[in-house]
Symmetry: C2
Subunit: 195 residues, 2 copies
């Protein structure tokens, strides 16, 4: 019992540190999450980071992974309902996630595209999970699965990412208009597959 | 006469160096265009670079600017014809450009997104020129000009970029299929503006 309870506390402690990292990451770029910041803002020492994550890089990677898992979980579509309504719910959660985690999300994308291999892998895994969901969870109701459809959905994901980030910077249309455009874009694009 | 002829030769020499840089850039990332490579591959010395471009960074920037100008010029749509046919011709030129200049194009995008300010500015200028063209040259025939339409066309540009780069890496559909999808995507997306 004692061993098991100790192990649980240790996992809980690790998880608490990660939660804290994710909260810091929401408003900061990854490179701003330094040993000094962690010590100052959260009383996390270098020794603690080494104990739980093998160091700062391990901590940063675990934070990004946790943030990516949060994104995937939060954007999970409802299990029932019309495919388009389920997509709309998923996109609404995506827009809210980017809105709340803008700095961290931007730094993840920037890092992934600038050739940081770990960030690129995590970014790619998250995006693949989101793209696969379109084909798996809706079993071809929105689009039939084919190489052309996969390419188109990848393009749609890039479109959604660009539009949401630009909407955050620019804000010239409402959140509701953005959601209508981004969600409606997928079935609109799908109509190109049958030409 | 002598002065004028000398000045012309100097401009021609500068232009020749740029052409060479653009050819090297097509198959290499920007960071691979080093003083050593230029000396070895083209007999361009450090002194010559300083004379014409103020140094390597100035040369690299001028090469990217020339490549971006080439892209804008090559993708200019024909002056007459149906708007969709003109868009198709423009996209065909875009796909060919990326195909021929893949390494350089990828490194420009990577550099622009990783926070290199000069590359970001050049990339943004080129993309804005391509996006403006949709509204200016066709005077609203494909889409009416509005903040929502501008945002959607920006998203479409990201979609096109992603699809063409992924097509280069993956190649699971034909060039003709890619062109049909990427070109048709714009009017398909435009139908979302009237909802």
């Amino acid at each position: 019992m004692t061993t098991s309870r100790t192990r649980l506390s240790s996992e809980e402690r690790r998880s608490q540190l990660l939660d804290l990292g994710v909260r810091l990451f929401a408003k900061r770029s990854l490179s701003e999450i330094s040993i000094d910041l962690l010590a100052e803002a959260a009383g996390i020492s270098r020794g603690l980071l080494y104990h739980y994550f093998g160091g700062l890089a391990g901590f940063q990677e675990a934070v990004v992974r946790r943030a990516a898992d949060d994104l995937i979980a939060r954007t999970a579509p409802p299990e029932t309902g019309d495919p388009l309504e389920r997509l709309a719910a998923s996109m609404e959660a995506y827009v809210d996630f980017v809105d709340e985690n803008y700095e961290g999300y931007l730094s993840l994308m920037t890092g992934a595209k600038s050739g940081n291999e770990t960030l690129h892998r995590l970014y790619d895994e998250a995006r693949s999970a989101l793209i696969d969901r379109i084909f798996v969870s809706d079993a071809g109701t929105l689009l039939p699965d084919s190489p052309a459809a996969r390419l188109l959905v990848r393009g749609w994901a890039a479109l959604a990412e660009e539009m949401v980030l630009e909407w955050k910077r620019d804000g010239s249309i409402s959140r509701a208009e953005l959601l209508t455009l981004v969600t409606g874009a997928l079935p609109d694009l799908a109509s190109g597959l049958v030409r």
